[in-house]
Every structure is written in structure tokens, then in C-alpha cells.
């Protein structure tokens, strides 16, 4: 029933244990395998672990958690199992910000690109506020998000086509695919606090999302403030997704798939799906990122591409199942 239930607690503990195990395994995995005995050594393998893999794994877990929880919130808020964190247009406006820094060749300084991406996300949220107003209306809001995201996407395409050099074009296209390659502690320090704050906003939506299970009128009659909920969702999704895109580019499908994977185990109540989605999202990204590191490809497979390759078939199965249930 409402409140912490034993199955939910068990599921969260299980996911957490799996995540910790996977993060430790992931430390060892890569083009160079490093045995745990060498992790704290003051040599090259110690350096690989502490300066390359550890920040990358922490960042991956944070981004996975962010995208998973943002996806679960969006699906609960829009009461639509096909919603994902991209719906508000936050990820595409963050991407636009990042791409413009690449376009103008500002990427020389490490912190400029993420800053531009965050600025893009912030501008996106501001525009969303202007477009949707303070009505709290779901349809207006979704439409505003869709308009925003297609606007940002077309501006991004414009920048690609007008890129000053072929090198810039390649750089932009590659960056858009999303990856965790060569991320450092600086990226962790920038993204993780923002993601953490964003997740607090997302968790605060839980009760209202539960009430929305019975529709907007019923929820409001039970004391849900839809305007407050809207801003919690926008701020939460904006911060988590904005910071994720800033740190790793666009990694699709996590926010869409993960809530579906945990829902049968967590119970379908929206608030019960939030935490398991964060844990499972982290687990998924850490696992997938370890896989792309191990895969014997010439250049590392981009994580964003790997997730889409994994996600698309899942999406098809989901549609097929829904199709059967509706028939």
C-alpha cells in the first residue's frame, strides 16, 4: 500500500548492491585490465583507475541515475508511458548550448562546453516558462516542450550545416552522440552536485505524481498544487538532464526504458518507481559503458549509440506488448 513496502525496500537494496558490484567490476574492465591489487599503486595502472576510470564510473552512475529518475518523473507527470526526459526540450536546448560552444571553437577550455550546455538548459527552461505560463495546464506545457525541443534541434542542425570547418562539423556530430570517454574529476565536480539537487526536486514530486494517477481534477481536489508540481518537475528535469547533457552529450532511451523495467517490480505507483529508476538507470549506464570499453572496436563505440542500439529494439517490444494489450 502507500508508503514504504517490504518489496520496494528489497528491490532498492538489491539494485543498490548490484550497482556497487558493477561499479567495482567496471573499475577493472577496459582495454587494459587492472587487477584490484594494483588499484591503489602509484604507477600507471593506479593512475588509470584513479584518474580515468573512477571519475568516469561515478559520472556514468550519476548520469544514469539522473536520466532514470527524470524519465520516471516525466512519465508520472504526463501520465504517459512513452514520455521521456527529452519531452520538455531541456536536453535539446542543453545540446544546442554545447554545440554553439563547439561551433564558435570555444571548446579549448574544458569548462566552457558544459557551462554553455547548462546555459542552454537554463534558457530552455526560461522559454518553457514563458510559453506555458503559470496555468499548470498539461497540454499547453507538453506542446511548449515539443515546440522548444524541435526549435533547438533545428538550430543545432543549422549550426552543423554552417560549421566553419569540416573539423568542427565532425566534432559537433561526434559530441552529440554522447559518451563518457576521457571524462575527468572536473566533470564530476561540475555535474554531480547539480544532478543531486535536481534529484531532490524530482523526489519532491512523488506524492503529487501518485495523486495524478486519478487525473488532474481528483489530484487537485486532494490538495495537489499543479503549478508547484509543474515547477518541481521542470527544475528537477532541467537540472538533472541539463547537467547530464553538459557532461556526456545526449544519451537517449535510458529515461524511457528504465522506468518500464522497474515498474513491474516496484509496483506501478509513480512515487514508488522514482528511486528504483535512479538506481537501475545508474546500473544500466555503468554496465553499458563498461561494455563499450571492453568491445574490441578500433575506436571506442559511443555510449549514446550503444544505448540507442539497445533502446530501439526494447521500444519495439514495448509497443508490440501495448499493441497486444489494446487488441
Amino acid at each position: 500500500m502507500i508508503g514504504p513496502n517490504r518489496n520496494a525496500v528489497r528491490l532498492n537494496l538489491l539494485l543498490m548492491a548490484a550497482l556497487i558490484v558493477m561499479m567495482i567490476l567496471s573499475l577493472a574492465a577496459g582495454k587494459v585490465w587492472v587487477s584490484p591489487l594494483a588499484w591503489l599503486e602509484d604507477d600507471l595502472s593506479g593512475l588509470i583507475i584513479m584518474e580515468l576510470r573512477l571519475p568516469r564510473i561515478i559520472l556514468g552512475a550519476a548520469i544514469g541515475a539522473a536520466l532514470g529518475m527524470a524519465g520516471a518523473t516525466m512519465q508520472g507527470y504526463l501520465r504517459n508511458p512513452l514520455a521521456d526526459p527529452g519531452v520538455f526540450g531541456v536536453s535539446s536546448s542543453a545540446a544546442l548550448g554545447a554545440v554553439s560552444s563547439l561551433y564558435f571553437g570555444y571548446a579549448m577550455t574544458a569548462w566552457l562546453l558544459p557551462t554553455f550546455a547548462l546555459a542552454g538548459a537554463a534558457i530552455g527552461m526560461g522559454l518553457l516558462a514563458l510559453l506555458a505560463g503559470r496555468s499548470g495546464s498539461l497540454i499547453l506545457f507538453t506542446l511548449a516542450g515539443v515546440i522548444l525541443s524541435s526549435l533547438a534541434a533545428s538550430l543545432t542542425s543549422l549550426m552543423i550545416s554552417l560549421a566553419p570547418t569540416p573539423f568542427a562539423t565532425t566534432e559537433i556530430v561526434t559530441w552529440l552522440m554522447g559518451a563518457l570517454t576521457d571524462r575527468s574529476w572536473d566533470d564530476v565536480k561540475l555535474a554531480v552536485p547539480i544532478i543531486a539537487v535536481g534529484m531532490l526536486f524530482l523526489i519532491a514530486t512523488g506524492r503529487s505524481l501518485d495523486a495524478l494517477t486519478l487525473g488532474e481534477d481528483a489530484a487537485r481536489s486532494m490538495g495537489v498544487n499543479v503549478v508547484r508540481l509543474q515547477w518541481l518537475a521542470v527544475l528537477g528535469v532541467g537540472l538533472t538532464v541539463g547537467a547530464s547533457v553538459a557532461a556526456a552529450g545526449i544519451i537517449g532511451f535510458v529515461g524511457l526504458i528504465v522506468p518500464h523495467l522497474v515498474r513491474p517490480f516496484a509496483g506501478h505507483r509513480p512515487s514508488a518507481v522514482l528511486l528504483p529508476s535512479a538506481l537501475a538507470g545508474a546500473l544500466l549506464i555503468v554496465t553499458a559503458d563498461s561494455a563499450v570499453r571492453i568491445l574490441p572496436t578500433v575506436s571506442e563505440l559511443r555510449l549514446g549509440i550503444a544505448m540507442s542500439l539497445l533502446g530501439a529494439p526494447f521500444f519495439m517490444i514495448l509497443l508490440y506488448k501495448m499493441h497486444r494489450e489494446l487488441a
Binding site: I2, G3, D210, G215, A218, M222, G223, H268, R269, P270
Partner: protein, 257 residues
């Protein structure tokens, strides 16, 4: 305790939906709101529930303004059963009914009082044996019962229901109305929007009848339920009679020119 509204005025897109109307509801009674489509019944109901802010006038619980109440307290005092059954996500029945406790339950979930209220509400609506079923998979009648249980679980002092009989067969219509009547008898206020005149005549203690944003008549059932008033309200000729067992029958026979 009284639920009252004074000089409510509501204009949407240049159309006057509510025209400076006033009225009052009492505890322990079922008040049925009647009126033709677009007469302003649902708008009035959502103003009463505090979901819509009128351009002028106020809704008051005794002498406290509805809109000044904090959402949670308003949710404890006034329960709303919206028109269409609306259940998202594949949750089970006891979860749906448990949601009715949201205005009461603490941050860390439901306490003993909450569980007790849920059990009671499910028993009152014959939902107990549905507890583990998935709410989305139930029939329309069962869903209606479950959603009523959801509102009852919140133990609101005032229960507002917008056309709770829509899409229910006659047997289930009786069930819902009996339960609403019992809830009023237990000392609560029940306000129901209905379209079925015979059911209204049978179950209402008081009737408020609206036309074009105005209140045409309001008062005890027998004073308001007359062929003349019904004719004015709906633009149809109405015959009022009794069944063989003495139940009121209200039958629209033709459209008035």
C-alpha cells in the same frame, strides 16, 4: 457547518457561466444539482471544490473562504468525485483507494488510521474482494465503486460528485446513490450533479436547479420538483407521477416549442 457561496460570478471567453449566484448546502442532506447542458453545474461544482477561482464572489465553509484554505486541509474537508473515471498506471484497487488518504497521510506513508479508513471505505462500497485486482482491468461499474471508495476513504465532510451515474446500469446507479445517501445520513454533506430526473426525485433531500448560469429554484425536493420548474429548466414538457409502489417518476415527454 455550512457550505455556502455568495454572488459567484464566472465568465469564460466572454460567456457568463455563473451569474452572481448565491446558495447554501447543509450537512446530513443530499443536494442534487440539476440543469440542462451548459447550465453551469460543473463550473459551480468546481468552484465549490476550490478548483476554480470565480471572478467575483466567494465560497465559504462556515466563515472561512475555500480559496484561503491550504490544499491539504481543503482536501480533508471536501472530497470530489470527478465526472469520468480516470485511472492511470496499472495499480491495484487498494492502492487506488489508499490514494484517497493523501490529504491525511504523513510524509512517510500511511498510519493505522489511514488503513482503517481504507478498509472501511472498501467495505462500504463492496470493494473488499477487489482489493488485489488491477483497477484498470475492472468493468465500468466496478471502477465506479472503487473511485467512490477512494473519495470515501478521505472521510471528507463534504462529498461532491459530478454525474456519478454516467455509464452505469440501473442496478449500479441504485448502489451508488444508496451509498451517497448513507454517507449523508452519517452527518456529512453530499452534493451531486445528476441528469436522471427520476433518480433525482428519488434520492434528493434538496434540489438546486440551474439555468443559463442562474439558479432557477432551490429548496426541498417536493417544492422544486414540479412539472412547471422542470419545464422551464430543460425546455421540455415533464410529467410527474408515481410508480405502483409509490416511487416518484419524472418523465420528459416532449420538447417544448
Amino acid at each position: 457547518m455550512f457550505l455556502s457561496f455568495e454572488k459567484l460570478g464566472l465568465t469564460l471567453r466572454g460567456r457568463d457561466i455563473l451569474k452572481n449566484i448565491s446558495g447554501q448546502f447543509q450537512l446530513g442532506r443530499v443536494t442534487v444539482i440539476l440543469g440542462a447542458n451548459g447550465a453551469g453545474k460543473s463550473s459551480l461544482l468546481s468552484c465549490l471544490a476550490g478548483l476554480r477561482e470565480p471572478q467575483s464572489g466567494i465560497v465559504k465553509l462556515d466563515d472561512r473562504q475555500i480559496l484561503s484554505l491550504e490544499g491539504r486541509e481543503r482536501g480533508q474537508l471536501i472530497g470530489l468525485l470527478p465526472q469520468r473515471p480516470d485511472i492511470h498506471w496499472n495499480v491495484d484497487v487498494k492502492t487506488v483507494v489508499g490514494l484517497g488518504r493523501l490529504p491525511h497521510s504523513g510524509r512517510w506513508g500511511m498510519g493505522a488510521a489511514d488503513h482503517e479508513a481504507v478498509t472501511k471505505a472498501m467495505a462500504a462500497t463492496d470493494c473488499t474482494e477487489l482489493a488485489e485486482r488491477k483497477a484498470m482491468r475492472l468493468s465500468g461499474g466496478e471502477q465506479g465503486r472503487v473511485l467512490l471508495a477512494r473519495v470515501l476513504a478521505g472521510e471528507p465532510k463534504w462529498l461532491l460528485a459530478d454525474e456519478p451515474l454516467a455509464s452505469l446500469d440501473p442496478a449500479h446507479q441504485f448502489d451508488v446513490l444508496e451509498r451517497l445517501k448513507n454517507y449523508a445520513k452519517a452527518g456529512n454533506g453530499v452534493i451531486v450533479v445528476l441528469h436522471d430526473l427520476t433518480q433525482a426525485a428519488r434520492f434528493a433531500d434538496d434540489i438546486m436547479i440551474m439555468k443559463d448560469g442562474d439558479i432557477l429554484a432551490a429548496g426541498p425536493r417536493d417544492a422544486v420538483m414540479t412539472a412547471d420548474i422542470m419545464g422551464q429548466a430543460y425546455g421540455v414538457e415533464v410529467q410527474i407521477g408515481k410508480s405502483d409502489t409509490g416511487e416518484p417518476l419524472v418523465v420528459p415527454v416532449r420538447r417544448l416549442p
